[in-house]
Symmetry: D3
Subunit: 246 residues, 6 copies
Amino acid sequence: MQLALSTWQEVEEYLQTRSGIIVPIGSVEQHGPNGLIGTDHLTAEFVARGVGDAIGCMVAPTLAYGMSQHHLGFAGSATLRPATLMLVVRDVVQSLAVHGFRRFFFINGHGGNIASVTAAFDELYAMRSLGEADTPVRCRMKLWSDGPRTRALSRELYGDADGHHATCTEVSVAQFYQPQAIKQAQLAPHVAPPSGGFFEGADYRSRFPDGRIGSAPALSSPEHGERLFAAAVQDMTEAYQAFLAY
Amino acid sequence: MQLALSTWQEVEEYLQTRSGIIVPIGSVEQHGPNGLIGTDHLTAEFVARGVGDAIGCMVAPTLAYGMSQHHLGFAGSATLRPATLMLVVRDVVQSLAVHGFRRFFFINGHGGNIASVTAAFDELYAMRSLGEADTPVRCRMKLWSDGPRTRALSRELYGDADGHHATCTEVSVAQFYQPQAIKQAQLAPHVAPPSGGFFEGADYRSRFPDGRIGSAPALSSPEHGERLFAAAVQDMTEAYQAFLAY
Amino acid sequence: MQLALSTWQEVEEYLQTRSGIIVPIGSVEQHGPNGLIGTDHLTAEFVARGVGDAIGCMVAPTLAYGMSQHHLGFAGSATLRPATLMLVVRDVVQSLAVHGFRRFFFINGHGGNIASVTAAFDELYAMRSLGEADTPVRCRMKLWSDGPRTRALSRELYGDADGHHATCTEVSVAQFYQPQAIKQAQLAPHVAPPSGGFFEGADYRSRFPDGRIGSAPALSSPEHGERLFAAAVQDMTEAYQAFLAY
Amino acid sequence: MQLALSTWQEVEEYLQTRSGIIVPIGSVEQHGPNGLIGTDHLTAEFVARGVGDAIGCMVAPTLAYGMSQHHLGFAGSATLRPATLMLVVRDVVQSLAVHGFRRFFFINGHGGNIASVTAAFDELYAMRSLGEADTPVRCRMKLWSDGPRTRALSRELYGDADGHHATCTEVSVAQFYQPQAIKQAQLAPHVAPPSGGFFEGADYRSRFPDGRIGSAPALSSPEHGERLFAAAVQDMTEAYQAFLAY
Amino acid sequence: MQLALSTWQEVEEYLQTRSGIIVPIGSVEQHGPNGLIGTDHLTAEFVARGVGDAIGCMVAPTLAYGMSQHHLGFAGSATLRPATLMLVVRDVVQSLAVHGFRRFFFINGHGGNIASVTAAFDELYAMRSLGEADTPVRCRMKLWSDGPRTRALSRELYGDADGHHATCTEVSVAQFYQPQAIKQAQLAPHVAPPSGGFFEGADYRSRFPDGRIGSAPALSSPEHGERLFAAAVQDMTEAYQAFLAY
Amino acid sequence: MQLALSTWQEVEEYLQTRSGIIVPIGSVEQHGPNGLIGTDHLTAEFVARGVGDAIGCMVAPTLAYGMSQHHLGFAGSATLRPATLMLVVRDVVQSLAVHGFRRFFFINGHGGNIASVTAAFDELYAMRSLGEADTPVRCRMKLWSDGPRTRALSRELYGDADGHHATCTEVSVAQFYQPQAIKQAQLAPHVAPPSGGFFEGADYRSRFPDGRIGSAPALSSPEHGERLFAAAVQDMTEAYQAFLAY
């Protein structure tokens, strides 16, 4: 059930019996020579809607822009600063809480969002711990690719070649979701990334010249995407329901 | 050309010859008994992509959430506070300016965004006027429904019954874009709205009990939507090109 | 009744029967070769006090500084950034609401303030819509030159030569208010401004080299100012009373 | 030379040979039963203009609103929060620095502003110390009543009865500046204030029920005001010139 | 080499050859019935100084207060909000970068800081990726208890009874550092924590009534602390040197 | 009684009968050729703990970093911006107020903190004056060196040679507290400082090339420090008790 495709009266009715909502969040950032800039928000949205279809829960409009400062060395990447992203998360949660939503499950497509969004949750909780907010809200975020079924399938399909950014897994799911936008690119072989991470955009680009981190997305395919999508929907459905029950 | 469906190398190539980009912006807010909560961002996105298809310009991912505080009396509406929305606009523009984008044309689906987004543009310009920013950026925002062709067609189709919120025009375009989500609802006849506006959410709801302002969206249809969409794409294409040439 | 010239006990008495207040707001920015830098706040203050004298309503001290980033290419102009101006408006409204003021009517001398001040009102309303603020406040802003009598008289006196910045109208009213500061300057003939607006300060100056936009303020006179002032006081009195009654 | 009554070309000429400017700053807050709510900004403005007349230096429009949270227990008082006031000071200084102003001398009418405005100066200096700001600006603030001539005359006229808030000195100067607004009030005898200060508005009101702190402003007169004004103009002229020479 | 115990001339000399610095960061929060409120910042400081003593690197003064909103249900806990902590980290890094420090290694005593401090690093990097900051800074944060030697020793000493908050490990190190403050308390047996985490302070307290999460700190001793401290100093020395070499 | 060395249960017990707490605050900034960078926070902490030992009141962890922008011309100095420091003070006070603390006595080692911390107190009070905060908190700040006994002893020991920064007094107390870190340095004779203060870091350094302002800290000794410490503990104990009783 997509919030964007509902009327307010339908939402009112939903809230008679339920108080959970899924918020897809991603990024606008390069995903290597054959990955889409929208990969993270497209896949998060796709999986979130899959969960919505599976169990009839509400899915909010996608937060397409995330924390992607490290990708600004590549054309087309856009970032929200951490402080901005935190305010966005705060406002969306506070707004929906006005109507009676209480459980906010963020299905995340981008590891770079974790610190900022977690900090945003802490801001919301701090307001309540400090006695400023009357309404208790509870938030959780999961990477859609990080459930047990999806991880197992990624490993089976790609092993170490899945990599850490512009992964085979996410490229496959994006290909399944947007088949008209499958890109062909000559890809250098994947190499294991350095263990020490990266810093600002220029540093990232100097370490990972074509944008990928340790992945071989030439292996990706929409057929894989279909299977990975199904696994991710199951994983996220389970995680959402566990969250509601906690 | 959708940024989300491009690779960074495609964007790099685009920037060899062009520096303009369209950013669709809308809202997540009630649109009366038969209008979708996503009406504003769906229609802005649809028209923006239409322009992108028509002339091959770049279209950024949609800013779905806007300034909708006055709709918080209706379930499902979500707002960014003005200050938050301003930071979002700032960050998106600054990010894309890193790569060489210079002209930002916001196709807007929601009148309530105008003050905050204009103020955001002023913030960006102020940084440059005060000597803090090196890169000149130029921004303009237009309501997709406010070009000459679209206004004329709205008037022809609906006259005064188009209204001011949950207009027949926007409901029709949303129906054409998302035909699977056409809603049936008993609608009271439209009445002329008071001239003095509204204030916070509770005030809005007391003045406009079912959410509409002076509109009769029972008149809407996907067929109208198709014609209105074509007019809006033409209007916005013209406006975008005039902006680039200014 | 000027707040600045009252004692707290007089204000307390006023609040026994009334809850409205007028806040003049203007700018500190160039107004062409013969216009005063204080034109916008002086005229707003003058008209606001005129309304206060006419009907005995309370007039707050003038917010002299506004959003004038686009004038920073001309010596003496000063701006508050939009975010700063928004906080100023918020604090002034919240402070006066503590005492029982509920209706805030901003008499505005500067079009450049509209976005930021409207966004500030939205911030205040959002706090209430989100359940954070207990006190309902209602705000409205009007340009003093934009009422029916004043517009008609401007048109009669100047036609198109009134222009868009450093207008004949505002220069005349400032001359009537501050006759000791009437300036003589050789003025190039007015020319119609471009339709596409302006961006940061340097852009503004390149488009409008002496600061005016399409005006011929050599036509201004204190005698005109007297008539325009009378019209504006009537217009704003009517608008204020309509606001109180809404 | 008032900035508000100058044209941009006159300011440009001034800046050929000078880079100093005076900024009057006051407050909007109760001043006891016979003191005006505008006392602090009116007197600061009056003295600042007196210095401007005496030596031809530039005087910016008055910052009427200051940090007055402790007076919010009395009707009509309005405060900027410290963080807001700091941003106002920052923006005004940064704006004027664009044109070539470098020395900012704040003539202050309100002790409650000292912490916030000093902190604002520190913010500005910090930006430069941290390498963010290219333009060196120098700021100083003085209470207009705190120069040697004025203090001596206050002591001669009122001794301890001058008090700490709603002082005889400031009431007298306001009476000289705004003789049409001299108020009559029955005043309880002044009593020495407690040594430990005050906290929020309710606390202030409970300690100082009619708003004064240790003053006997029944002693005030416009004749005193004239002499005190002359002394203050001399003191502040001297202080401004010492600042320019430092 | 403690920054606090150095003169500026000694720091200047240090910077001739080195550009790294260690910043200890902890929290002020309850650590169960026998753990100290200062446990996290005391242990981080102790280990950081141990590394400083071992290899002569500079150690900044401890950031004692961290992000501890979830502990506010227990007396004495104090939190910085995430946004505040982020600004603190930004200012400290930017200040020290003025002098030539470039590598900032945060030795962390509190898992709750990770999101906020990581987001602060991202803010700093974003400023550079967006072209606002000239100076490249590089930051890394490690939990002192999370190196290989320390983890192994914790496991050997306590197994699962080490727990997740008020761990035996940290209580032991604090006891070794502050033997005069070893507390005796009757402790209920440790129980495995729920897997789903916690939200605001009241929620935390309802799940973990005496403050501990799954730990048995009755097992702690200063003798263990001595061994764990030695392991942690070795782990952190290695991690710091790897960071400098990256 | 140090908060850092207490358990939450001990704090809970303390709050049964008391609601006051001491917060030491200092700085991280150069103190001349023989003064420690940590002088201000070390001495404030030392005196605060001395008061805690004397009368059993609670002492919070030290806020080591303060507002030191003017010292950034000397290696090792670090500043919080005023706005950051204000948020830190706000968060610490609000957190401790959750548990029942109501009186916050800041023992300050650094004059440069006064404006920012006072402004932070005003922010807290403003929240209550504006009706946003339910809990009344009361704050006071004193320089530990500014009580009557300490001032008298400083004058007796050093006269004018005590100076204004890197004073003999503070250097002596630091030497008594940290005897292992007594530094030897050739010191130029002290000279009287200019009366007009200083601005940003570069300005400070040009006026005071070795960092001191008018002091002769070669006169300092740990023996003096012991006497000065005793005087300061007495002064601050008295001031704290007067504050509680006010």
